[in-house]
């Protein structure tokens, strides 16, 4: 088994690239206390909160998988719309 530390990436917590943004969103939206039953969604503006969360509420694993698939398609199938 070959060993190396070359694959270690230090991402921090400051959303400096796309993957870091996913890390941050994962923590802000998926981790922490949930106050059930008292969140007043109607005050938050339906077009803002609901629409936005529909777009971004996915796990990091899923998002990373889609990104890698998209990158793979771009590499192996030139000209493929991604």
């Amino acid at each position: 088994m070959s060993e190396s530390s070359a694959n270690i990436v230090f991402a921090g917590n400051d959303a400096s690239d796309d993957l870091s943004i996913l890390d941050v969103l994962d923590h802000v939206l998926n981790a922490g206390v949930v106050i059930r039953g008292t969140v007043i969604i109607s005050l938050a503006g339906v077009d803002l909160i609901y629409l936005g969360l529909d777009v971004i509420l996915t796990s990091v694993e899923t998002a990373l998988r889609h990104m890698k698939q998209a990158q793979g398609a771009a590499v192996h199938k030139p000209g493929t719309a991604v």
């Binding site: 802000v28 969140v39 007043i40 971004i56």
Partner: protein, 215 residues
């Protein structure tokens, strides 16, 4: 007036509170039962609320990070909007014991995360039977755990505690690290000898949400 809640801290923690919250509103602390919850007024029809959710969530994270640099926090998920400050007080009162215990458990600690991944772990898709699939998953989990063990050794005393959560492409390893030991933690991970085909992504510091409760 509706309020947006950011995080909960020990009421006694000395904090340099960020000047502005989301929508440019002032951040204030609500004290109840030995806890302090930071909030700002929230107006649904404020033009600033038309900020895309992604940008608002990133701004929310920057505010949380300002708190986290100073003390242990229990974050609230974005967006947690409550009817008014009284509702915040009531919530703190109802959960005071649980959150005080959580804060004392993570005191001075932050959470570092290491995500282990490898293309080989996504599944080859050639397993012909359920048994073969289960054997492949078993081998996968065994290897992930071996690598995680190597990481724990490399991290050593830089972390006070650790947890692992298996995910489709590998594992998420969480470490409770003293705020003062983050650099040591990063240095130890940097020197870890791990298989070359494994991706290792280190992120943090984050609020120590994985360590608020005892397993």
């Amino acid at each position: 007036m509706a309020v947006l809640a950011y995080c909960i801290t020990d009421a006694e923690a000395q904090i340099d509170v960020p000047k502005q919250g989301l929508q440019g509103k002032k951040i204030e602390g609500i004290v109840e039962s030995g806890l302090r919850c930071y909030i700002s007024n929230y107006t649904a029809d404020d033009p600033a609320s038309k900020q895309p959710v992604r940008e608002a969530a990133l701004a929310f994270n920057r505010i949380l990070q300002t708190f986290l640099r100073q003390t242990a926090i229990i974050p609230l998920r974005y967006p947690t909007v409550l009817a008014d400050a009284n509702e915040v007080s009531s919530f703190l009162r109802d959960h005071a014991g649980e959150y005080r215990d959580g804060l004392s458990r993570i005191r001075d600690g932050v959470q570092m995360e290491i995500r282990l991944s490898s293309p080989a772990w996504s599944g080859s898709g050639v397993e012909n039977s359920g048994a073969q699939y289960l054997r492949a998953r078993q081998a996968h989990y065994r290897r992930v755990n071996q690598i995680a063990e190597e990481l724990y050794k490399a991290v050593g005393l830089a972390a006070k505690s650790h947890k692992i959560r298996q995910v489709a492409e590998g594992a998420r390893c969480f470490f409770l690290v003293d705020r003062a030991a983050v650099d040591q933690f990063v240095g130890n991970v940097r020197s870890a000898k791990l298989p070359a085909d494994v991706g290792v992504r280190v992120s943090g510091p984050w609020p120590a949400t994985e360590f608020l409760k005892e397993d």
